[in-house]
Symmetry: C2
Subunit: 237 residues, 2 copies
């Protein structure tokens, strides 16, 4: 049989296939707390419980997995998050009552201010304090996925400035340090934090100053390549 004949006859539905979803753990910082976006499920299974924003791939619309995840996030936030990366893929026979399922999980960051207005207009989406998830009964294995995302984010806070994407495009160094401290759950030495960022030339000084407060802090923005930069040493954990 030629490849052409093979492809003509091929039909995915002739085989037993798992169901595939994309789900995202979207973090932000607000009021000195780390928050994660959850959606109240309107459909079975786990109807009425809180779960991660996500859903099925639209084979006709989505070109890649990341696009599918972004499309689903955009339904809740109206904008695409400035940072998104693949976290892990969970799959198994028992994690979804509908059958063998695969969830391609993403971890993303967004500035609270950049999407809060739209989220409030979407009745089923809400920011939840990460520290207070213990009380909630989350759908599927979404609690475990959030915990994995948190671990990864904590690691990144030790050796990168990826957490900057939880802030608006322009931000101050004290703001960035605060975000890191919130993620890590402990204070960081100001001098160490600033020194390594300056030495690696990761930020662009916009020349502007933040108006509020006492002394005015300089406003910076990320260089494009800075999200991939990795310091050779970790901060103390």
């Amino acid at each position: 049989m030629s490849e052409k004949e093979f492809l003509q006859k091929y039909n995915v539905k002739d085989f037993d296939v798992p169901l595939v979803t994309v789900d995202s753990v979207l973090f932000t910082c607000h009021e000195d707390q780390l928050k994660v976006l959850l959606v109240e499920r309107s459909n079975h299974p786990h109807q009425g419980q809180w779960g991660l924003p996500g859903g099925f791939i639209d084979l006709a619309v989505d070109k890649t997995l990341e696009e599918a995840a972004k499309r689903k996030l955009k339904e809740k936030t109206s904008i695409e998050p400035p940072y998104i990366e693949q976290l892990e893929c969970k799959g198994g026979a028992d994690r979804d009552k509908r059958g063998w399922s695969v969830s391609v999980c993403f971890s993303a960051l967004i500035a609270y201010q950049d999407c809060q207005a739209h989220i409030e207009s979407v009745s089923d989406a809400k920011w939840h304090f990460v520290n207070e998830l213990g009380l909630l009964d989350l759908a599927f294995d979404h609690r475990a996925i959030i915990n994995t995302a948190l671990e990864r984010l904590r690691q990144k806070a030790l050796y990168s400035i990826v957490p900057a994407y939880a802030l608006p495009e322009r931000f101050t160094l004290p703001e960035l340090q605060k975000v890191h401290e919130i993620i890590l759950g402990q204070p960081i030495q100001k001098k160490s934090f600033r020194r390594r960022i300056e030495q690696a030339e990761l930020l662009i000084d916009t020349g502007e100053k933040q108006a509020s407060g006492k002394r005015q802090a300089s406003l910076y923005k990320m260089k494009k390549s800075s999200s991939e930069y990795r310091f050779v040493r970790n901060l103390e954990a």
Copy 2:
């Protein structure tokens, strides 16, 4: 509609679903070279080309994605690799001619000696020098997946001793250093390498010595927790 009713009526095949495969990048070290296991494809598409070992999930047999990947690897190696981790998930409309596809990719390590006999008995599987893949026409996006796996492995060689799993259960420190050097493509300071491993107490001294060579090197084995250990500083890249 109750959840029970919903689940009774639910059928995955009522929806357009992507096809899902698991694929593994299995590395080993032999003759001072990094090698990757490839399989000559017996079926369409890409019949006759080399590709990563893997395949479809068997919904009746596999409980998780990792189990599926291990089962597929075991068909070629006869044993499960001592180290396997999820690498990334590739998905898209165009990467597989059969349609929208998702590949859940794993990266794994194994000792050459532990599986070479079986691999030679499997006619379609063969170790390939990682440095000489340039000439080969690999199936799907498998070349890109191998490159991602390589990058990750190089990072791990800088801040962990995960590469130890490319060696037999008992190994010497010079052997381990050599594996790291092969992965990184450059020499490492012996003292630095040994000092950090000793300080972190990552290995168990078996008390045995390796027979061959001049002075006999001590044989060590991994502590269980050592694969997750991360040094606070990277070696120089």
